[in-house]
């Protein structure tokens, strides 16, 4: 279970939230309010006050790389540092790639030629390869057309039923949050307001 206690970062907070295994909590809010910063603080990517606990263990007690493998953050803009897909994603991730509509030769594709939608789907698979028990999704379908977006939503739904991760799903699209999330909140400077 993911537990967020009195989390404060920049001028936002205190935020309190519990997300059970297998549960999906949707976060929305006006743009620029700090939804991405919220996810970054939970992944311990930015300095923050308050505590984030995973199964009762404080993030500060877990080495940062280990924490970030368990609490997987999918940023809105993905980063790539090799020339082709292969060194970024192990071939074990193939099943997921096929489900998201990639052909078998995707491992040889040049990163520079990928569309932003392809990058987004590939970075999702890459993040899931760590086997995180918490997923922090920052606009996971923002660059996708309606069909690919629905595919990603289905894929995440199946993944959730199978692996039971706790999910924080950030989106400006309220209808998507309503489809995907069990509980929904609006992020305000002063805290999380239930929707």
């Amino acid at each position: 279970m993911l537990k967020i206690e009195d989390l404060r970062f920049q001028d936002i907070g205190p935020l309190n939230l519990e997300v059970a295994q297998g549960e999906c909590v949707g976060i929305t809010g006006t743009s620029g309010i700090g939804k991405s910063l919220f996810l970054r603080a939970v992944a311990d990517m930015d300095p923050h006050e308050g505590r984030v606990l995973l199964d009762g263990v404080d993030s500060g007690k877990i080495p940062p790389p280990e924490w970030r493998k368990r609490v997987g953050l999918l940023p809105a803009e993905s980063a790539w540092w090799f020339d082709t897909v292969e060194p970024h994603i192990s071939r074990n991730g193939w099943k997921g790639l096929e489900r998201l509509g990639f052909p078998p030769d995707v491992f040889d594709w040049q990163i520079a030629r990928l569309s932003s939608g392809e990058r987004q789907r590939l970075s999702l698979i890459r993040m899931l390869a760590n086997g995180p028990s918490v997923l922090l999704l920052d606009e996971p379908t923002a660059n996708l057309d309606a069909e690919s977006g629905a595919r990603v939503e289905d894929f995440l739904g199946d993944y959730r039923n199978e692996k039971r991760p706790a999910i924080l799903w950030v989106s400006h699209d309220i209808s998507q949050i309503e489809r995907a999330a069990d509980r929904r909140f609006r992020l305000l400077k002063t805290g999380l307001e239930p929707l």
């Binding site: 311990d44 990517m45 790389p65 970030r68 997987g72 803009e77 540092w81």
Partner: protein, 265 residues
């Protein structure tokens, strides 16, 4: 062979070249005239001053004087490294990273040269210590400035990649590894080029000076080889230390990329 003394008139003739460059700059709107003149005046004053200092040092041989001059030189070099950074570390670190690295590498290598290689008695004989330290600091400074500048600039530009790697569970060392390697390479390439070109394309300044001063060419050459090796060693260790320190400072204890520790732009 005696050194032919230079009169103020001789130097003034050479100085005319600087004035000519400044005038052309004015005509061509290069906006360099001020900088050229200021740099030329600084060169004159600073060198005259160090000449007086050396003259005094040579007559009053004492380690305390040497330490004092060395500290002034190091501080000046540290400021120079800092001012060459487009994005430098804020606070004391901006000055500290380069200065500490230069101190470690230049001082220890100068000491090694004075006590083991040239084996002078006493080791603080300023006629050897000051020029050696000066040459080492001057060159190490270049390597360290380039290395640090590249480190901070690249980290700034590639923040998405560094953070993307951290998010996937890589540790800070791995996430910045490529950038660190490239920064060290960048700092070392000038001295490697200088060693490759020495004698073929360029006659190094120190050797030329010794020959002009009347030393036998082979002695001057041997000193130049020694200096080249010392400089390469000093630049190498200095740049590695500075980039290592800088790369550590870019992350905090929770291995977060802390670009807020840089300033300027």
């Amino acid at each position: 062979m005696q050194v032919i003394p230079l009169s103020p008139l001789d130097l003034s003739i050479a100085g005319l070249l600087i004035i000519a460059i400044a005038l052309i700059s004015l005509r061509m709107n290069l906006k360099l005239e001020r900088q050229v003149m200021v740099a030329a005046i600084r060169t004159t004053l600073q060198l005259l001053l160090i000449g007086l200092v050396l003259k005094a040092l040579f007559t009053h041989v004492h380690p305390a004087w040497l330490v004092l001059v060395a500290t002034v030189m190091l501080t000046a070099a540290g400021r120079e490294v800092m001012s060459r950074q487009k994005r430098r570390f804020s606070g004391l670190w901006g000055f500290g990273v380069g200065t500490v690295s230069m101190c470690i590498s230049s001082f220890s290598i100068t000491l090694l040269a004075l006590t083991v290689i040239i084996d002078i008695d006493p080791w603080y004989e300023p006629r050897y210590a000051i020029p050696l330290l000066g040459m080492l600091l001057g060159n190490t400074m270049n390597g360290i400035s380039i290395g640090l500048d590249r480190l901070t600039m690249t980290a700034w530009d590639q923040r998405t990649i560094i953070e993307g790697r951290l998010m996937l569970g890589q540790d800070a060392k791995e996430a910045i590894g490529d950038i660190r390697r490239e920064s060290i390479r960048g700092g070392l390439i000038p001295i490697i080029n200088a060693m490759s070109a020495a004698g073929l394309v360029s006659l190094p300044g120190m050797m030329t000076g010794q020959i002009l001063g009347g030393s036998p060419p082979m002695e001057a050459v041997k000193y130049q080889i020694l200096i080249m090796f010392l400089i390469a060693g000093g630049t190498g260790f200095g740049t590695m230390t500075a980039v290592w320190l800088g790369a550590r400072r870019l992350f905090d204890e929770r291995q977060r990329l802390r670009l807020d520790r840089l300033r300027g732009g």
